[in-house]
Amino acid sequence: MARPEEHRQTERSLTMSRAMVEAIAHEMREDDAVFYMGEDVADYGGIFDSTEGLLDEFGRDRIMDVPISETAYIGAAVGAAQGGMRPIAELMFVDFFGVGMDQIYNQMAKNTYMSGGALSVPMVLTAAVGGTYNDAAQHSQTLYGTFAHLPGMKVVVPSTAYDAKGLLHTAIRDDDPVVYLFHKRLMGIGWLPAPDGPKTGVPEEAYTIPFGRADIKREGADATVVTLGLHVHRALAAADSLADDGIDAEVIDLRTLAPLDIETIRDSVAKTGRLVVVDEDYRSYGLTGEIIAGVAEGDLAALDAVERVALPDVPIPYARPMENEVIPDTDDITAAIRRVRSDE
């Protein structure tokens, strides 16, 4: 596994949004075919700072504000990609996917296959995901599992600035459609304070992180915690809190859902025997079940205990006590790790 520690210890730290912007700017300088379309991405710089400052350098022809017409502009990205451009289309909130879903899953995701490989669709669909700030049912989802369920899309979920930059370079250079889901709470936006973890050292030069390589964010021998996005940081906090009690948890950050690095997870479970999967998406028919099934298919006997920690199957409620109830927090993860260790 590629773990360029020297990069992570670089003196220069960036927020996740700055790291993303740096990758986009680099790719746009290198390749005229790269351009960015979205709502409020030009003058505003992206509601979640995903394009901040890019208008000044690249102008409106390449940092394009588009009408609130997701079907049209996501579909236009598909067509432009098939023609040889390398568009990045931003869906402001992933929750808005429904508005343009046909272009996403019937066109973008399927044209390569339906054409028997005659076409490729080298585009990136970016979207902000996640709750924890009381934005209620239509603006708080992650929908990780939905995109990963439908074949034909590579699905990326960074949890740190370092990963965000490297994965975005890879996404833009990839010849297939990539859905790049960034968590609002990790971006380092002034009005939405991030936890400490996502702001990391980031090299100034371009670098790629291959898809399908999970990253072990914390090594441990007693339990395997598999997660992604914001919950990497919550899982790390849970693992730290348990270390005092002598429970040494390993935390695996998936980084990409499709392709999925099931081998890293299986290897970890072979060592720990105990698996906790943590997801900010809905519980049923989703990522938690998929990971557990993938481990079980590899070696059912390796699993001594399993827990999943995810959103219950309810829309995300607005009021603070209810939102706190349904979105997994550090205590929920800690409790789940203790449960898989309870027979020790």
Partner: protein, 346 residues
């Protein structure tokens, strides 16, 4: 023609809607100082305030009955107030309290009050199709109820809006679409995103009447709404209205509006529909004492609602699991009917 009494009612409602937004702004920012944190304070999450939009909600909803349906977008408070949504329950919802309209599940973008047939969607233009459905429901019941869909001018490039115009038109449904044009879709001026900036012109493509009201004037809006709502109520089909309003605040609280020229902000503040109506009323000999009375009544209702809401309990965490279905999955075992029970012939 609106009588002076009606105009006074409208003035009072507009003042109430404006005061409501100004007070919510204060409450919202409390706990978000000095560092703005969207998830902190008594009202967390996004808050889209409608100061400067009052003439639209009041001018249109003045002509509606409780049986008439309204769908509102993510900026709904002025429309809700004008439609007669329970102000205390709505305020409690915005504060995320147990006695809110939805027990705290919806929040400010998702206000639902079936008593007055009011609903919201936080997704741009997505309130339009359900409004068409409300019109269809009225038609099937042979009732003369009307449905009104409010949307911002940023929503007029959405398929959901354009498809709804077509469906309402071809089915001759009692629906009025009201575009509130505040010139800005967050940071995007309409000229940047459409070549047809007069949204009312979109009606022509679907063979229904389209009217634009340029002045942020509740009387002009009311006149246009009278025609459109009357037409729908009489069974003559849908209409499209576009009304000019002004965004006196950011898109959401916390939006620093760095993209917006100062002159545009100043102009929005100067073109005040409430002051315009006040001038009209003064010309009709309404005196200071009456204005004071109207204003204080409006403000008292707002203060009362906010005070009440803040005293309400927060929902229990476990309430999050309720209301997913109105008819939750049954615990009953399946009982297969025997052939004899079905009464079927051999």
């Amino acid at each position: 023609m609106l009588g002076v009494t009606e105009l006074q009612d409208m003035y009072e409602t507009m003042v109430m809607a404006r005061h409501y937004e100004e007070r919510l702004q204060e409450e919202y920012l409390e706990g978000k100082q000095p560092a703005f944190d969207i998830s902190a304070g008594p009202i967390p999450g996004e808050l889209h305030l409608a100061a400067g939009h009052e003439a639209s909600g009041v001018g249109v909803c003045h002509h509606l009955r409780a049986e008439d349906s309204v769908t509102a977008p993510h900026r709904p408070h002025h429309i809700a107030i004008a439609k007669g949504v329970d102000l205390k329950a709505m305020t409690a919802e915005i504060f995320g309290r147990e006695t809110g309209l939805s027990g705290g599940k919806g929040g400010h973008m998702h206000l639902f009050d079936p008593d007055v047939n009011f609903a919201c969607s936080g997704i741009i233009a997505e309130g339009c199709p359900p409004a068409v459905g409300a019109g269809l429901d009225a038609k099937k019941r042979n009732a003369d109820d009307v449905a009104v869909a409010f949307l911002g001018e940023g929503a007029i490039d959405q398929g959901a809006f354009l498809e709804s115009l077509n469906l309402a038109s071809v089915q001759n449904l009692p629906v009025v679409f009201v575009i509130e044009d505040n010139d800005w879709a967050i940071s995007m001026p309409k000229e940047r995103v459409t070549d047809v900036t007069n949204g009312a012109q979109r009606a022509a493509g679907f063979d229904l009447p389209g009217t634009r009201v340029d002045a942020d004037d509740v009387i002009a809006i009311s006149d246009a709404a009278t025609d459109a709502i009357g037409r729908a109520r009489d069974g003559n089909g849908p209409s499209l209205l576009e009304v000019q309003v002004h965004r006196r605040m950011g898109h959401f609280m916390g939006d620093a509006e760095g993209y917006r020229p100062d002159a545009d902000k100043d102009a929005a503040t100067r073109r005040d529909a409430i002051e315009r109506l006040e001038t009209k009323l003064r010309a009709n000999d309404i005196d200071d004492e009456t204005f004071d009375e109207l204003r204080s009544r409006a403000r008292d209702r707002v203060e009362e609602a906010i005070e009440w809401a803040k005293e309400q309990p927060e929902p229990e965490p476990s309430a999050a699991y309720e209301d997913v279905f109105s008819s939750p999955p049954s615990e009953e075992p399946e009982r297969a009917p025997s052939v004899a029970d079905t009464g079927g012939e051999d």
